[in-house]
Amino acid sequence: MAIKTIRQAIGEALRLEMARDEHVFIMGEDVAGGRGGTGVLDAAGGVLGITKDLLEEFGEDRVIDTPISETAILGCAVGAAVSGSRPVAELMFNDFMGVCFDPLLNQAAKFRYMFGGKAETPLVVRTMYGAGIRAAAQHSQTLYHMFTSVPGLKCVCPSNAYDAKGLLIQAIRDNDPVVFLEHKALYDIPGVETPDEAYTIPFGEANFVRDGTDITIVAMGLMVHIASGVAEELAKSGVSVEIVDPRTTSPLDTDSILESVEKTGRLVVMDESAARCGFAHDIAALVADRAFGSLKAPIKTITPPHTPVPFSPALEDAWLPGPEDLVKAITAVMEY
């Protein structure tokens, strides 16, 4: 056991699973890097360096550099999965889904159902999401609500290294197609205790990041960390905040969310996905539908505005939900 970052945890999960199961392979743009160039092979290990050294350990058959060709990457991974392989495909940024949604939306997600239960498509798509690093409108979106709305896909959004490792190993061993979303602002935040060996975290089990009695905050990814800071501050003034991190949006641990709201009677959902038809609204509707009687105050949702993500640091900071938005929402709910 050691303190590890999310970056390290994801790399470890990939290495362990590739060593455990020869059917597991990785493919994507520059997952090794350097092919066809005048320098060395394994020049990059992906844009994040996460897959560095896997080429040497597992060889070029299982560490597959591809052209910049997202439809072929995802479609090839789906075809490989349904024919007996266990691919982990890397879609560098989830924004790129704009050019390659079909293999997930119409193929992998629907095979098992429309083929009468006969298909297995054990596929993982790793992809970066989220704002906060000045990557501008086409490299900063949070799109897990789109994947969540597609029956047949599973959707995972870890917020810390322990969860990232256990959930990624689960994703690779899972027999359904899984989209594994990595928030790009979290790779190198201070790490947490993370075992060296392989372990899995089941999908559909929320993490109670913090126990409290006055108000429930549902948050994922970067928002968990903002909520934790706010909860720490508010504890000093006597507000007891409970933070629930669903960790997976599909399947969703509805029971834990409902139990928490039934206990606290108050809910704020702080979420980085869309301001319309997003994950926050899904949770708000769930609680309104099934725990209305427990509510002592209206549900509040905090999302970015309904705009693209702006570039300028001043604008992006204004765009991204922050601690002051959460304090304001909690205060309003508590004072209702």
């Binding site: 591809t66 060709s69 075809g79 429309m114 083929f115 297995e120 559909g204």
Partner: protein, 325 residues
């Protein structure tokens, strides 16, 4: 590859496959007029020789990715005709339990990765199946069926390029039937040369008459052999004609009456086949007639059983979305 000495059994198999596809689809065409078949139907009548010719070189270990016009591919790959008919009628016991229908018939046990409602989607899927074959170090191949319409899709371009870059064992079969939906290939294929375009991706591709079993089987056999030998992706552009419209109910105003009538006379793969084997005295006409009779009985039974079968229970709606959830 020289098919002039094909053993008699294989000749009979080829004819049986083509005839089964023909009867299956002609019967669907008729049954559809009763209103008892729901949804979209895309018939491949006229293109049977391509399915039979290509699949005559494949085993169940080899994969195919099909198109929305996929009944013939499934039959030629070995799918159960009666289960297919039930599927098209939306009945329990259908090949996909009634959840897929005509446009999503799949049979993974036979290496049939599915008909596909998304034009060109089979391209990337096929190279994935080819990647599995490569990783297993087998000599299995994946065959991707695409139409002239799909030949214009970006995903197909990507699949062709990546198959060459990664050296994958895949054959692209472009079934050029002259129309993508209601639009002529002469208009929509900018270069008017699908084979040439595939060649531009580094995929050696030949053009053949897809209404003659022997020419398409010969070309496909050569391509598949080359792939099995590790020579990289290969292609075939096979010209044929669809005897019906894009979908059942298509009035085909975009085709002249002459064209619709003439293709059945001049470009019928079954007539061509009978003429070829009679010329060389390779088969007795009586043997072919016997197959016709067998196939007619099979399709009669398939329709009767499909009509008699129950619809799926409504609780099937919630089943098989995930393996576990």
């Amino acid at each position: 590859m020289n098919l002039s000495n094909l053993p008699k059994e294989r000749l009979l198999d080829a004819y049986r496959t083509m005839k089964t596809i023909r009867e299956f689809e002609e019967r669907i065409h008729t049954e559809n007029t009763t209103g008892d078949i729901a949804g979209f139907l895309h018939l491949s009548v006229g293109q049977e020789a391509i399915a039979a010719g290509v699949m005559s070189h494949l085993t169940t270990q080899d994969y195919i990715a099909s198109t929305h016009r996929g009944h013939g591919h499934a039959i030629a790959k070995g799918s159960d005709v009666k289960a297919m008919m039930k599927e098209i009628f939306g009945k329990a016991g259908g090949l996909c339990g009634g959840k897929g229908g005509s446009m999503h018939i799949a049979d993974l046990e036979q290496g049939m990765l599915g008909a596909n409602g998304i034009v060109g989607a089979g391209g990337p899927l096929a190279i994935g199946a080819a990647l599995t074959a490569k990783l297993k170090k087998s000599d299995d191949v994946a065959v991707c069926f695409l139409g002239d319409g799909a030949s214009n899709q970006g995903g197909v371009f990507e699949a062709m390029n990546m198959s060459v870059a990664l050296g994958l064992p895949v054959v692209f079969i472009f079934e050029n039937n002259g129309y993508g939906e209601f639009t002529g290939a002469d208009f929509s294929v900018g270069s008017k040369d699908i084979a040439g375009r595939a060649a531009g991706f580094g995929i050696p591709t030949v053009k053949v008459d897809g209404t003659n079993f022997f020419t398409i089987a010969d070309a496909a056999g050569t391509a598949i052999d080359r792939v099995r030998q590790g020579l990289g992706p290969q292609g075939v552009e096979a010209f044929a004609f669809r005897f019906y419209g894009h979908f059942e109910g298509d009035p085909q105003a975009y085709r002249s009456k002459d064209e619709i009538e003439n293709v059945r006379v001049d470009s019928d793969c079954l007539i061509n086949f009978r003429a070829s084997v009679a010329e060389g005295n390779r088969l007795e006409i009586g043997e072919l007639d016997a197959i016709d009779a067998e196939v007619a009985i099979l399709i009669d039974e398939a329709v009767a059983e499909a009509r008699a079968a129950d619809f799926p229970s409504p609780d099937a709606v919630l089943k098989d979305v995930y393996i576990s959830y």
